[in-house]
Assembly symmetry: C2
Homo-oligomer: 210 residues x 2
DNA sequence: CGCCTTAATGACCAGGTGGTCATTAAGGGT
DNA sequence: ACCCTTAATGACCACCTGGTCATTAAGGCG
């Protein structure tokens, strides 16, 4: 190292597609880590090993870069297909595997981080993602209050993601994946399927609502 | 208006305590709306009707202002006291009332918004708030996996808050308060108390874990 | 080999940020 | 009435942000 010929002149590699891909990867990681507002173009450029001018050249604005870096909503078809009775187990497993597996750059986390501080671009993407998954669940579920149940399910998953990955503190963040899958499968099942209050308590709820 | 004597010279009111309080209110509202990163001192000063220099004079830094503006974790004693069997109903009611009632400036929302983009000060406060409520629940609950259940409960409430107040979109945001209370009481009950998988499905979970 | 398209750079800009500080003036104490 | 403490102001600063653009040089093609 150091005796390479002509190493003093900054060798400039010329490979638009590779650079573009590297920038997208870096953007994903950066936005996942810091959210939209705090993720800077210069940081992304640095991670990708290019200058921030090049980032602007490939994606004309920070917002366009963000949109390009966040892939469309994942297809839930394979999770949702199959016996609805075992959906909670499949769902919990897929969910935990996806988030624990993502090497620190998952669009859902990035969107939660970004949407939280009222970023328009992020909120639009988040709404789309939310709608897509709600539709997927709706297609295979049925029953009383199914829409509200699905909303509570989504909220539940978001809350778990928030605790485990966004904050990353507390028991939920330290729970081993298999334990989390088991617990999550159970709470998902309860939210989706259990229609009545549990036995063993006199259930003082003032009344059942409408 | 306009013929007030000496109205051209900017009358300078001198009232440190009132200004201090106004700044804290404005800060709460601003951070709740935009989160820590996007809430600027000048915006806060403007809402409070003072200059940003004064804000810096009262609270030496943005971070100190933030800490001062976020009140300590609410005391859950009154919610938690009473028959544990009806805790879900009391909890759901208190929770929904608190967040729906706050005139657009609740510390929990501010913390969620701020913590999301990896702000150290916010994360510390959030951890404290989380710990306090977990302890309060722990004091009156018991049973298998109670710690994990409490974590799931907190995650659930955060997810609901996120959907209803932070994003403010989707069915959960439009659900009338009383309906939400009823649904929430039920899911809280299930998470806290229902120990077994529901009847009516063969419960494919690989095994119960430890 | 030299040309020529164009990928890549880095200097530059305007605007906004948190933070500092000399200056002004309010209003209680004497 | 005059001070004199100090609340309040607003000009100022360094820094960082997203975004622009003239300049440079890589490398395919004739």
């Amino acid at each position: 190292m150091g005796h390479t010929p002509a190493n003093d002149k900054p060798r400039r590699t010329r490979d638009p597609e590779a650079h573009r891909a590297a920038i997208l990867d870096a953007a994903r990681a950066c936005f996942t880590e810091r959210g939209y507002a705090r993720g800077t173009i210069r940081d992304i450029a640095s991670r990708a090993g290019v200058t921030h001018g090049l980032v602007m050249r490939h994606f004309s604005s920070k917002e366009q870069l963000f949109v390009a870096a966040m892939p469309g909503p994942r297809d839930l078809a394979d999770v949702v297909a199959g016996d609805p009775a075992t959906l909670p187990e499949r769902l919990a497993l897929a969910f935990v595997e996806r988030l624990d597996g993502a090497g620190g750059s998952d669009p859902l986390i990035a969107l939660i981080r970004s949407t939280a501080s009222n970023e328009e671009a992020a909120t639009a993407l988040y709404r789309e993602m939310r709608q897509r998954s709600a539709d997927a669940y709706r297609a295979v579920l049925d029953g009383l209050d199914v829409d509200v149940r699905i909303e509570l399910l989504i909220a539940h998953l978001i809350g778990v993601t928030f605790s485990r990955h966004v904050i990353g503190v507390g028991p939920l963040a330290e729970l081993p994946a298999d334990r989390l899958v088991a617990q999550l499968a159970r709470s998902v099942r309860q939210i989706l399927f259990d229609q009545d209050v549990a036995p063993g308590s006199q259930a003082a709820g003032q009344d059942s609502g409408r």
